[in-house]
């Protein structure tokens, strides 16, 4: 076989592989949306779940997912921001820094179920927080921290060295340079990173089944006192999220319409993540234009 012919065959095969992969991936997305979107309705998105009967919704789970997401982001963002600033702006290139980077990398590669089990052991059992939103938020924080730190550090890296030199030359301290010069310039890409990591946190389930729990007690949406047990804001109540709900009803299967509910929930998750993705792109571009007057 001459090499020209070989070339043609190989390239044809590569076209085939790429086509097949696109087909698989599109079929996947198509299946989720086609089977899930017909289930969606106002009732489905707002009604509480029913354990043994048909026609339940995912209202409580949806609320829990967002509440947990916001809490987890509120805890993890300041920590990740501080860590990234220290790593990129202050840390010298020595063995301590290398060790710390290795530790962060290890944390990011830990299976999320291990992070969840640690959360169970430490927050639920040791600190006696029980299966609660708070335990779940901490577990999600651990899951989120390394990824967010890395993405913020990458954002800081994109800012030119001249900006730092400019700040220091004006007599600003390093910290002032970071807060007044570097961070404003890095806001668009930091925000993109935050939104993308929000998407990951939103769909996480393995870290939550033994921290935030697998039950969703009914909520009274008229009661906004965080100390009442039926208040949606109470951080000490068990809170099953949407992703955990999908897992739960599929592995226990006592709900007569488990499949329809899971299809609907999957579609909601995917649509939410698509929205996060598009917002990330749009906000990043828009803010960049706004802040740099480019």
């Amino acid at each position: 076989m001459n090499s020209k012919r070989q070339n043609k065959i190989a390239i044809g095969a590569l076209y085939g592989i790429a086509g097949l992969v696109v087909l698989i991936l599109l079929a996947l997305l198509g299946y989720i949306l086609a089977s899930g979107v017909p289930q969606l309705s106002w009732h489905f998105l707002t009604a509480p779940a029913k354990a043994f009967l048909k026609g339940g919704g995912v209202g409580v789970q949806l609320f829990n997912s967002f509440y947990l997401l916001i809490l987890a982001m509120a805890i993890s963002f300041p920590i990740a921001l501080g860590a990234a600033i220290y790593l990129y702006e202050y840390a010298r290139d020595n063995w301590v820094t290398t060790t710390i980077r290795t530790a962060i990398e290890i944390l990011s590669s830990l299976p999320s179920v291990v992070v969840g089990l640690f959360g169970f052991l430490f927050f639920v059992v040791k600190l006696r927080l029980g299966f609660s939103i708070l335990s779940g938020a901490f577990a999600l924080t651990f899951f989120n921290l390394p990824l967010l730190t890395r993405s913020i550090e990458d954002s800081l890296r994109t800012i030119n060295l001249e900006q730092r030199e400019g700040g220091l030359a004006l007599g600003l301290s390093r910290w002032e340079t970071v807060t007044r010069v570097i961070l404003p310039a890095a806001v668009p890409s930091i925000l993109t990173g935050v939104i993308l990591s929000a998407g990951r946190v939103f769909g996480e389930a393995a870290a939550l089944i033994y921290t935030a729990g697998q039950s969703a007690p009914a909520l009274n949406f008229a009661d906004w006192n965080p100390f009442n047990i039926s208040s949606p804001l109470n951080p000490m109540r068990p809170a099953e999220t949407l992703a955990v709900h999908i897992w739960k009803i599929n592995s226990e299967g006592i709900m007569p319409d488990a499949k329809a509910i899971s299809s609907g929930s999957s579609a909601v998750l995917i649509i939410a993540i698509l929205l996060f993705n598009f917002t990330a792109r749009y906000v990043g571009k828009r803010l960049y234009k706004r802040l740099t007057s480019a």
Binding site: Y15, A18, G82, L110, P111, V113, Y210, N250
Partner: protein, 311 residues
């Protein structure tokens, strides 16, 4: 000798300015945040390890029996009065499913990455890249649900039996790690300098010869990292696998018989055991195995990175 006024003056001059105070404050706060993350890592490893070795220290299970025993039944003691905590079925299940899904995913992922980078960068950037990026973000429970509603019935129709098992798990994990491995492979190919390709084409090599003999060779460390990364993800994946594998803690005797992995036993078991009991400790030992394996994957990635840099 200093008078009182010069002392005051000295104090005034030596005192930190407002900006200097702010600087110290900022530095301390950001360092604290960083150390907090390190503390979290240490705490996770410490806690899981101390729980995981309790099976061997306080329940006196032989480590070798644990790793090679074939029957997992912590509630029952065997003829010698020892609890049956052989983790081999789960360890084999985890490795089998990881290796199989990596074997299936690698050619597809690298082929697609080559297509995106070398053959049709235009279509790659327009169609393939956004699609893969999007799929990296799909939650694993969704993959599990699709596995349950599409893959398992298909396997059942073709091979008979229940449809749950290693094969279904492999299919789900294949699709799940495909986007990750593809986008990392594409990054590896992107970092091959352009003049390598030009030199090869100038020597009269065809496009395929250039890809096969130059680009793929030069990108090998990066491609290996991508595959190992995918394997690490497959090994640690819990819920998607748990939903389709069948959850029978038996040695997998065929690819379509129900079996289990480390993660699937953990997710189903930990809530049904009492803290501190042998049954519970044995599960923590499985978690420890999982943790150690993830450290090993990390090490492999590092070694590949170091070797790749030297060349």
């Amino acid at each position: 000798m200093k008078t009182k006024t010069t002392q005051q003056l000295e104090q005034q001059l030596k005192r930190h300015s407002k900006a200097a105070k702010l600087e110290i404050w900022g530095r301390t706060v950001s360092l604290t945040a960083l150390l907090l993350i390190v503390a979290v890592v240490v705490a996770i490893i410490g806690f899981v390890a101390s729980k995981g070795i309790a099976t061997f220290t306080s329940n006196h299970v032989n480590l070798w029996d644990f790793l090679t025993g074939k029957s997992w039944n912590p509630n029952i003691t065997d003829a010698n009065g020892k609890p049956e905590v052989g983790a081999l079925p789960m360890i084999v299940g985890s490795f089998l499913i990881t290796i199989l899904s990596a074997i299936v995913a690698t050619p597809f992922a690298i082929g697609t990455a080559v297509f995106m980078n070398e053959i049709s960068p235009n279509k790659g950037a327009k169609i393939l890249q956004p699609v893969t990026e999007l799929l990296v973000g799909i939650p694993s429970v969704v993959y599990g649900f699709i596995g349950l509603s599409v893959v398992v019935p298909t396997t059942r129709a073709i091979f008979g039996g229940s449809g749950f098992g290693i094969l279904s798990g492999t299919c789900v994990l294949f699709v799940m790690i495909l986007p990750t491995v593809t986008s990392m492979s594409a990054d590896a190919l992107k970092s091959v300098p352009r003049y390598y390709r030009e030199a090869s084409l100038a020597l009269g090599a065809t496009q395929w010869q250039t890809i096969y003999k130059v680009v793929l060779r030069a990108a090998t460390p990066g491609l290996m990292t991508a595959v190992v990364f995918g394997m690490a993800r497959a090994f640690g994946e819990a819920l998607a696998v748990q939903m389709v594998i069948g959850n029978a803690a038996l040695m997998p005797n065929s690819l379509v018989s129900p079996s289990s992995t480390l993660t699937s036993v953990l997710t189903t078991g930990i809530g049904n055991t009492v803290m501190g009991s042998l049954q519970n400790n044995a599960l923590w030992s499985l978690a420890l195995v999982l943790l150690l394996m993830s450290l090993v994957f990390n090490l492999i990635i590092r070694l590949i990175g170091r070797k790749g840099r030297l060349q």
